[in-house]
Symmetry: C2
Subunit: 719 residues, 2 copies
C-alpha cells in the first residue's frame, strides 16, 4: 500500500498555496508542518513569495528540485485541478486537497471533483479530500501535521477518521485534553478518493494503530463496509459516531417495508452486524476510547463495584444494569476475605461498600481480591474523598491492587477538586478515571458490548446450489422491458413474482391467472377448492382498497361471481381499464403470518426486514432489520429480536411453527437480493409459516425493479 | 414555618462534639462555620476542651449562656440521644444530627432513631438526619455552613437536597466548578424527621429559591409526594436523580400485575405525574439545571440550530430529534433576512449553517433574527473556532443578539481550548455553553419537557357520589376475618370480589355460586345460557392450571357434567378438599379484552396498571402504569400510551370499543384503591370492553387484602 505510505509517511511534503499571511489556511498548514517538527523536507510552493516562514518558496511544484511524496493543496477551488495536473507531471505520489468548492456545493463543483479524481487516479495518486482539514501522523519519527488545526495531538495508538473538518478540530482538542494518543488522523472531507473503507483496511494492517475511531456522516459503499468492518473489528476495536440519524436521511417511503426499515435502524443494524461500536455522542466516543486504549477488553458482563460511599455505588449499579451489565455477588471466598479486614458496617455484596473509613490499603486489598474472583469480569472503583484519606494515595493503591490482572479496571473519583492530580497519576498507570459514576458505567458497558460481539460466533455467508438465477433474471428483464425509461420503477406481474420467488426456493401458493370469469372458474377447478381470487392490475397495487380480493371461495360459481363482481366494481369507479384479469390462488389457511421484505436504501443498499403480520408490523412495529449481505448468524439474531417470536415457537401450548423454514426463506431472500441489483422493493405479505416440518408459503408478494437505481454503489457478486 | 427558620437561618449555632483535632468531623464542621463567616454566633460544645479553633468551648449545651437556635450533633451514636435530651431542655429549636449508627444499620440503631425522633418531636425540634452531611444556607446574610464538606458553594437560587452525604460532597464540588449558585443545601440522611416532602413545601414558599434539585434513593411517603410535587412543580422546576432503579428495589412478584408494574416504571410514572423532571445521570442534573437557572423555560419544542460548521450542526440536530425536539424551517422572512448577509454557500434551513467564514457580526444578526421568528421556540448556537474569528468576540455577539428575547438560548463552543474564557463571559451574561453539541441538545430537550408539562392541563382528582364504600368495606372485613394473623394476605371469595367491584360501579358478569352439580345446573338456568363454570377455591388461585374452567356451556346437563368433571379431576389429584364449589357465570363473548390491575408497591404505595389482554400484556408488555392517586388526565395519558390502543378505537374498520367506559372504570379503580388501604393486589383479567356505548364488564377478577401491609405509609383519605 505504497500510496498510503506516501500519504502518512512522506519523506518530502510540498504545500501548494503556502502563504506568508497569518490567519490564512495556506499559512497555518505550512506553519504546522514546521512547528510540529516534520522529520522530512517541507517545501512551500508560492509563485509570489521568495520565502514562507523563512523557508525558500518555489514558484510551482515542478520547480521543486527534489521528488515530492505528498502535496497539500490549499488554493482557490478553480486553481486546484491545474495544480493537480502539475503534481501528476512532477511525480507527486499523494495529495491532500484542503480547498472547498467541490461536490459539497453540487453543480460545477461536482464536475470539478470528478475531474480531480480522474487526473489523480490516472497518475496513480491517492487523494484525501477535497474540502478537508488534512492529515496527521503523530509518530515522532514522522511528525507530519498537514492540517490547519491549532492542535498537535499526543502520540498514541488511536487511528482517527472524521468526515467533518470542523469536528476534526474539536476532536483533536478534546483528545489532547483527555490525553488520548493518536497514531494517524485523517479528515476525509468529500471522500472523492480515500474513504473510510480504505482507512479501515489501512489501519487493519498498521502496527502503530490499536483502536479506530470514526466520525461518519454517510457510507460510500455500505456493502464493502459490511465486509471490511466485520473483518477489521475482529482484530481491533472500531468505534463510530454516525450522524444524520434524523430526518436528513429519510426518504419518502411508499410501502410498509420502506417506512419500517428506517435509516437509523439500518445504520444500527449495519454497525451491529460488523462489530463496529456505535456510540451516541462525541463524549461517549472519547470516554469509551479511553477505556479501550488503556485496559483489557471485558470478557463478560459481570462487573464488581467497589466504593467507599453508598450513593454513588447505587448510581453506578443502576447505570450498569440499565446498560446491560450484571452485578453478581462476589464468591463466598472473596466475601470472607473482604470481611476479614473491613468493618462490620461494610457491605461485601455488590456494590462492595467499604464505607467512609476505607483506607488506601483497604482499596488495594479489595481491588486485588475482586479481580482475582472468577465470578467477576471487570471492576469499577469509586472514591469519594472523605475528611482524611487522600485521593492520591487511593489512586496509587488501586494501581498496586490491579497490577498483573488481565481484567479491566476503571475509576470514578467523585468531586472535581480531588481529581486532577490523582487522575494524572492514574493515567500514567493506565487506569482511567471518570468524573461521574454513570459515565464510567456507560463506558464499561460499551467496552463490554464489544467484548461480547467478539465472542459472538462470526457466522458465514451462505450459498445454495439450487438457485435458478437465470429464470429470475428473465422475469426481471421481462418487467424492465416494460419500463418507459432507465430510471422508471416497474412492478412485476404476478407470474413474474412467482417465478422469481420459486427460482430462489421460496415456495409460493399455487396460482393461475385468468382474464374472464369462465377462465377463472376453470382455473379454480384445476387448483382445487377453496381458492382466493385477486385482482390483477399494473396500476392498482393496493388491491384491498378497491375490494379486489375474495377469499375462501368454494365452488366454480363463486369464482365466476367473484370475477364479475370485481370487474363491476372497478367499472363503477371508472377504472375498468385497470383490470388485467384475476389471479386464482389456492387458499392457505393454516400457519402464522409473517412479513418478509427487502428494500433498497439509497444510503445502505438493500435492507432486509422480518416481522409477524397484522398488528405486529403495522401497529407494534415489531420488526427486525439488517443490511445486506447477511451471515447466517444475522438471520438467527433477526428472528431472536422479534418480541412476538414466541407466537412462532409455541405460545401457550400452540404447536411450534416451522422456524427453520422461515430462517431458510430469509437467507434465500438475501441471495435473491444479491443477484438482482435492480430490485428496489420486495414484500412477501403474508408468508405463512406452517407447523414444524411443513415449511413456509408466500401467499402474496410484490416486487418492484428499476434499471438504474438511485445513488447505488457498484454491485458485485458476493465472494 | 418557624422550625425550618431555625434550621436554615439560625441566629446561633452550637456544634456538640466540636473537636480540636484536625481531620475529625467535629473539627471540620466547626471550622466550616467559622471559615465561611456564619453571620450569627457559633458555640463549640466540648467538655474536654477550653477552646476549639480559638473559640471558647462549653462543656454542655446547657452551659451555653445564650439561647441556641440550632444544634449540630457530631457525637458517637450512643451519646446522641442524651445530647438531644439536653438540647430539648436547653430550648434548642432545631437539630442536625451528623452521626451515623442509626436506622441505616438496623437493629439497635433503629431503636435509637425512633427514640431520637420521639424526644425531638416532643420538644418541637425539627431534625435533619441522622447520618448526614449537614445543611448550608449560602445567603451571605446568613452564611451557614453546617456541614463537614470541603466546599462552600456560590450563592445562587438553587435548592439542593441529597439523600447521600457522599454525593452531597461531590454535588457541592461540581456545582462550584460549574458556577451553579445554591440557596439552601440539605443532606437529609436517614430522613428520620425532615423529608424531601418537607423541603419541597419549604422551597415552594422560599423566595430565595427558583429551582429545586433532588438526589433521591427512596420515597418516604409517595402519596404525599404525589400531591406536593404536583403543586410545587407548577411554580418552580424540580429536577431529580432517583437511584435504586435496578434489582435493589425489586420484589418477588407473584402475579402478572406485580411483575409488570416494576419499580422503575412506577418511579418514572410518579415523576411524570408530578412534573418532576427525572434525569438519568448526575451530569444531566447539572447540565439541565444550568439551563433552567439562566434561561427562560421553552414554550414549545421547535428549536433552531445556528452553526458555523456542518458536522456539529448535524450532531446537534440528531440529538434534538432523538430527544423529541423539532427543527422546523425558519419562516420565509427570516430566511430572506439571513440570505441578505450570509454567503451563497450558507444554508438558511435548519440547522442554519453560516459556514466557516461567519463573523461575530453574522452571529449577532442571525441570533436576533432567529429569536424573533415566531416559528422558533428556542435557539442552540454552535461555534467551532476557525482560523480567524475569536471565540470571545462571538460569545459577546451572541449575548448582544439575544438581548431582550424571552426565548431560551444555549451554546456549544467546540474544542476545549477555546472555551474557558468565552464560557466565563457567557456565564456573566447568563447564556450557558456546553462542551458537546449533544449535551446541549439533551439539556434543551429536558427543559422543553418541563415546559410541555407546564402546558399540559393540570387535571383534577375525581370523586363519584354513587360509591357504596360500606359494602366494599364489609366484604373486605369479611375476608380479613379469615386471616390467621395481622400480616397474612387473604384472597377474597368470588362473591366478595363482585361486591367490591359493584360497590365502586365496575360492572361484573352476573354469577352465582353452587356447591353441588344440581345447584350449578339450577343457577345456570336462572342466568340463562350460555354460561361459564369456574372452580371456587380458597387455596387454588390459578384455576386454569387444574382444568377448573369450562366455557360456553349451553344446557343444564353440560353444567352438571362440568361440576362433576372438575370435582373428579381434583379428586384424582388428591385435592378434593380444595374445592369449595363452582361459580356459574354468564358468558361475555363480545368485547376487547383488557387487564386492569392495582398492586401495592412497598416503595410507592398503590400502583395502577392497564393493558390489553393476551399477548399484549404477557408477551409484549404493552402496559401503562401510574402511581395512586390519579388525576383524570393521568387516566387519559395511560390509555394514550398503549401501543395497542388502536385495537380499542377501531383498528382496520372494526367498530370502536367503549373507551369512555374503560376510562371510567380506571378512575373508579383509583377511588377503590384510595378507600381500601388493605388492598395488596387486584387483577381484573379480562375486563371486556364492549362496543361504544355498551360499557365494560369484568369477567374475572381477584382481590387480595392484608390488615397490616409492609412498609406502608400512613393512609389518609384523599382530601
Amino acid at each position: 500500500m505504497s500510496s498510503l505510505q506516501a500519504l502518512f509517511s512522506p519523506r518530502s511534503v510540498a504545500v501548494i498555496g503556502a502563504s506568508r499571511t497569518p490567519g490564512t489556511i495556506g499559512n497555518a498548514i505550512f506553519n504546522n508542518l514546521i512547528r510540529c517538527g516534520f522529520a522530512g523536507v517541507a517545501y512551500p510552493v508560492n509563485p509570489r513569495a521568495q520565502a514562507v516562514l523563512s523557508v525558500k518558496a518555489w514558484p510551482s511544484i515542478g520547480a521543486v528540485p527534489e521528488p515530492v511524496d505528498l502535496a497539500i493543496i490549499a488554493l482557490p477551488a478553480e486553481q486546484v485541478n491545474a495544480a493537480v495536473r502539475e503534481c501528476a507531471e512532477a511525480g507527486v505520489q499523494a495529495l491532500v486537497v484542503i480547498s472547498a468548492g467541490f461536490k459539497e456545493g453540487g453543480g460545477e463543483g461536482a464536475v470539478r471533483e470528478a475531474e480531480l479524481v480522474e487526473v489523480a487516479r490516472g497518475a496513480g495518486m491517492r487523494v484525501v479530500g477535497p474540502n478537508c482539514l488534512g492529515v496527521i501522523n503523530a509518530d515522532p519519527a514522522v511528525a507530519l501535521n498537514a492540517t490547519f488545526a491549532p492542535t498537535w495531538p499526543h502520540h498514541g495508538r488511536i487511528g482517527f477518521l472524521t468526515q467533518s473538518g470542523a469536528l476534526g478540530v474539536a476532536i483533536l482538542d478534546y483528545g489532547l485534553e483527555l490525553g488520548l494518543g493518536v497514531s494517524t488522523f485523517v479528515s476525509v472531507g468529500n471522500k472523492a478518493d480515500l474513504s473510510a473503507n480504505d482507512m479501515l483496511e489501512h489501519w487493519e494492517q498498521d502496527a502503530a494503530t490499536d483502536i479506530i475511531l470514526l466520525y461518519l456522516e454517510s457510507f460510500g459503499n455500505p456493502r464493502k463496509f459490511n465486509k471490511i468492518a466485520r473483518r477489521v473489528a475482529r482484530r481491533k476495536p472500531v468505534l463510530a459516531v454516525k450522524s444524520g440519524r434524523s430526518a436528513a436521511g429519510s426518504r419518502a417511503a411508499s410501502s410498509h417495508t420502506g417506512s419500517l426499515a428506517g435509516v437509523d435502524v439500518a445504520a444500527d443494524a449495519l454497525f451491529w452486524q460488523t462489530g463496529v461500536l456505535r456510540v451516541d455522542t462525541l463524549e461517549q466516543l472519547f470516554n469509551t476510547a479511553m477505556l479501550l486504549a488503556h485496559q483489557p477488553i471485558p470478557r463478560g458482563p459481570r462487573v464488581a463495584i467497589l466504593t467507599n460511599a453508598g450513593g454513588p455505588g447505587i448510581l453506578a449499579a443502576d447505570a450498569c444494569e440499565t446498560f446491560g451489565l450484571e452485578l453478581p455477588s462476589p464468591s463466598a471466598e472473596t466475601q470472607a476475605a473482604l470481611r476479614a479486614f473491613l468493618p462490620a458496617e461494610a457491605s461485601v455484596a455488590n456494590p462492595v461498600d467499604m464505607i467512609a473509613s476505607a483506607s488506601a490499603s483497604s482499596y488495594e486489598q479489595a481491588v486485588r481480591l475482586l479481580l482475582a474472583d472468577p465470578a467477576i469480569d471487570s471492576l469499577l472503583v469509586i472514591f469519594v474523598p472523605p475528611i482524611v484519606t487522600h485521593p492520591q494515595e487511593v489512586a496509587e493503591a488501586i494501581l498496586r491492587g490491579a497490577r498483573g490482572s488481565d481484567k479491566p479496571v476503571l475509576c470514578n473519583f467523585l468531586g472535581t477538586h480531588g481529581i486532577p492530580e490523582s487522575l494524572r497519576s492514574l493515567k500514567a498507570g493506565s487506569i482511567v478515571s471518570y468524573a461521574f459514576p454513570e459515565t464510567a458505567a456507560i463506558s464499561l458497558a460499551q467496552a463490554t458490548r464489544y467484548g461480547q460481539w467478539l465472542q459472538r460466533p462470526e457466522g458465514q455467508s451462505v450459498e445454495r446450489d439450487d438457485l435458478d438465477a437465470a429464470s429470475a433474471r428473465a422475469a426481471v428483464e421481462g418487467a424492465l422491458r416494460r419500463a418507459a425509461a432507465e430510471d422508471e420503477a416497474v412492478w412485476l406481474a404476478p407470474e413474474e413474482v412467482e417465478a422469481v420467488l420459486r427460482a430462489y426456493g421460496i415456495p409460493t401458493a399455487r396460482a393461475l391467472t385468468a382474464t374472464t370469469p369462465e377462465e377463472a372458474a376453470a382455473a379454480a377447478q384445476r387448483l382445487g377448492f377453496p381458492v382466493a381470487v385477486k385482482l390483477m392490475s399494473e396500476t392498482i397495487t393496493h388491491k384491498t382498497e378497491v375490494q379486489g380480493v375474495r377469499l375462501g371461495l368454494e365452488s366454480p360459481e363463486q369464482v365466476f361471481d367473484a370475477f364479475a363482481g370485481i370487474a363491476r366494481r372497478l367499472a363503477d369507479r371508472g377504472q375498468a381499464d385497470a383490470m388485467a384479469g384475476v389471479v386464482v390462488q389456492e387458499m392457505v389457511t393454516e400457519g402464522v403470518e409473517v412479513i418478509l421484505g427487502a428494500s433498497l436504501d439509497p444510503a445502505f443498499g438493500p435492507v432486509l426486514m422480518v416481522g409477524l403480520g397484522g398488528i405486529h408490523v403495522e401497529l407494534l412495529k415489531d420488526v427486525s432489520v439488517r443490511v445486506h449481505p447477511l451471515h447466517d448468524i444475522d438471520v438467527d439474531e433477526m428472528l431472536g429480536e422479534l418480541r412476538a417470536l414466541p407466537l412462532l415457537t409455541g405460545y401457550r401450548g400452540q404447536a411450534p411453527a416451522d422456524v427453520p423454514a422461515l430462517r431458510e426463506a430469509l437467507l434465500r431472500l438475501d441471495l435473491l437480493v444479491r443477484d438482482l441489483p435492480e430490485l428496489v422493493e420486495l414484500d412477501i405479505n403474508p408468508l405463512k409459516v406452517r407447523a414444524a416440518g411443513q415449511g413456509v408459503i408466500a401467499v402474496d408478494a410484490r416486487i418492484c425493479v428499476q434499471r438504474t437505481v438511485p445513488r447505488r454503489a457498484p454491485t458485485r457478486r458476493h465472494p
